[in-house]
Symmetry: C2
């Protein structure tokens, strides 16, 4: 481990201002596109995020949702309750943890989440489209390694490992059709929809 | 220019979800730290951002503020008006453009902005602290090149060039003490404050 090096306040301020601008610019696009995407389903971003997290954690505590969804505990609780009232979530104990309460997707909740995923349109995704030149140049989408490293420093290892787990779950379920069990046809549609302007 | 390559919907969705999580996580830290920093001055983030932009553009139109501050035109206008009422901004024409109205920092506005800059505490900046391991490893703060490239694709060249201009202005004014004209002492303080745990 190298010793900490000195930096000037000026350097810190320029860096901080840069990150402020970049993160505001990025989040505002993501927020707008995310809202537009899920609006037809009567969901806001936090609600959709809660459905996602409950899905990939296969049952999530309110504190998991707060942490991985980057929202206040009371926000996590209130929106989870609203989703329960609408029949998309249920609160119960886990097999291996009888002390804490977890939220689980109901069948109706799974169906809703699946519907949102199936209606995802890459062409309406600003960040995705803004990343295509890098995708074309490198043969893969950018990994934002530095950003990932900074977020990991701030939120801890488990934040980014849950991250990886969520991508893996999409991969796996896509392969096994576990989650997309009723969607074999849709899966074929997915493949047909591959952009093939090569 | 290479031809566009194909990507699957699954790949797009994983990428999109990753960016959504990362940008939410990043922005929530930036937002919280930014709010905490400027709260003692009775400013919100948009108001502080407007002061910054008026400063480094040396007079900014409402559409400049909307664009570079990533806020709705009506938000840019309303907060600029509020800042005018408080005596921090004035609306007037530019020497070389008599048709459009620009907002300029008043002396009181410059002083306020300067005060906020002088009270900036790197130790309270989550992203800055989360970036120190990269700073120590590479000898400089991360540049987020991929992210910068994506933001440039989305918002256009002038967005990122204004970006660079704003950093340059901090550099220059710091050197010449143009903006920090009354702050020679503070500048010395700046230098004394250099972290020197090397």
């Amino acid at each position: 481990m190298k010793e900490e090096q000195s930096y000037s306040l000026k350097e810190a301020m320029i860096f901080s201002h840069k990150v402020g601008q970049l993160s505001k610019a990025l989040w505002k696009v993501v927020e707008k596109d995310w809202q537009t995407w899920i609006k037809p389903y009567g969901l806001n971003i936090n609600e959709h995020h809660i459905l996602w997290i409950s899905y990939y954690l296969e049952g999530a505590s309110i504190s998991d949702i707060s942490k991985f969804g980057v929202m206040h505990v009371s926000t996590a609780f209130n929106f989870s309750k609203k989703l329960e009232e609408r029949g998309y979530l249920k609160f119960s104990k886990k097999e291996n943890d009888k002390r804490n309460t977890y939220v689980f997707l109901t069948e109706k909740g799974k169906e809703l989440l699946l519907n949102t995923l199936e209606s995802y349109q890459p062409s309406n995704d600003g960040v995705l489209n803004g990343s295509l030149p890098l995708r074309n140049l490198y043969g893969k989408f950018p990994e934002f390694t530095e950003l990932m490293c900074v977020v990991r420093e701030i939120y801890g290892d488990d934040f980014t490992s849950i991250f990886e787990k969520s991508f893996q779950k999409i991969e796996d379920d896509y392969k096994t059709n576990d989650f997309l069990i009723d969607s074999v046809l849709e899966k074929e549609e997915f493949e047909k929809k591959e952009v093939s302007s090569k």
